[in-house]
């Protein structure tokens, strides 16, 4: 089963959000077929942002579990989060 990674960014994106959006694209390519990457930016992100009770962006939710919030993670941290998520 594909792992689902939702990446939240503010609009306009601050440097952390710009970095996490680039990382999301990189990981979508890296784990093509294994990972579903969904980018949620600005107003379109608000319903899910509230549903998960997030408090700030950037944020990463993997299979509906909040893994990262308020910071753009390093690749190692994101890899660990994905591993914990079952990748």
């Amino acid at each position: 089963m594909k792992l689902r990674m939702e990446v939240f960014s503010g609009d306009p994106p601050c440097p952390g959000c710009t970095a996490i959006l680039a990382l999301a694209d990189e990981y979508a390519r890296k784990y093509k077929g294994k990972l579903e990457v969904i980018k949620l930016v600005g107003q379109e992100a608000v319903p899910k942002f509230e549903e998960y009770k997030l408090s700030c962006v950037p944020a990463v939710v993997i299979n509906e579990k909040i893994r990262i919030e308020g910071i753009c993670p390093s690749r190692t941290t994101l890899d660990n989060a994905l591993r914990e998520g079952g990748l």
Partner: protein, 87 residues
Amino acid sequence: MIQVKIFGTTPPCARCKEMERRAQKAAAGYPDRVEVAKFDALSEEGDRYGVMLTPTVVINDRVVAAGKLLSEEEIAKYIAKELEAAS
């Protein structure tokens, strides 16, 4: 009434949230004399002030900071200055 407007991203990033929190704390020192409101940077209100960076702080229609996190003391100083000018 002194109006403090905080312009940030949607959803909020950590810096924009912190800016709003500091503004609320600074305003608490002047009960019933200061109003703090949060706005989306990409809004009509944001266009009115030419908001290009977040967080942006506007006090009584004057942009006092853009892309910079002001301290609670700095905001309080701006508020005091406005109150002094108004009296």
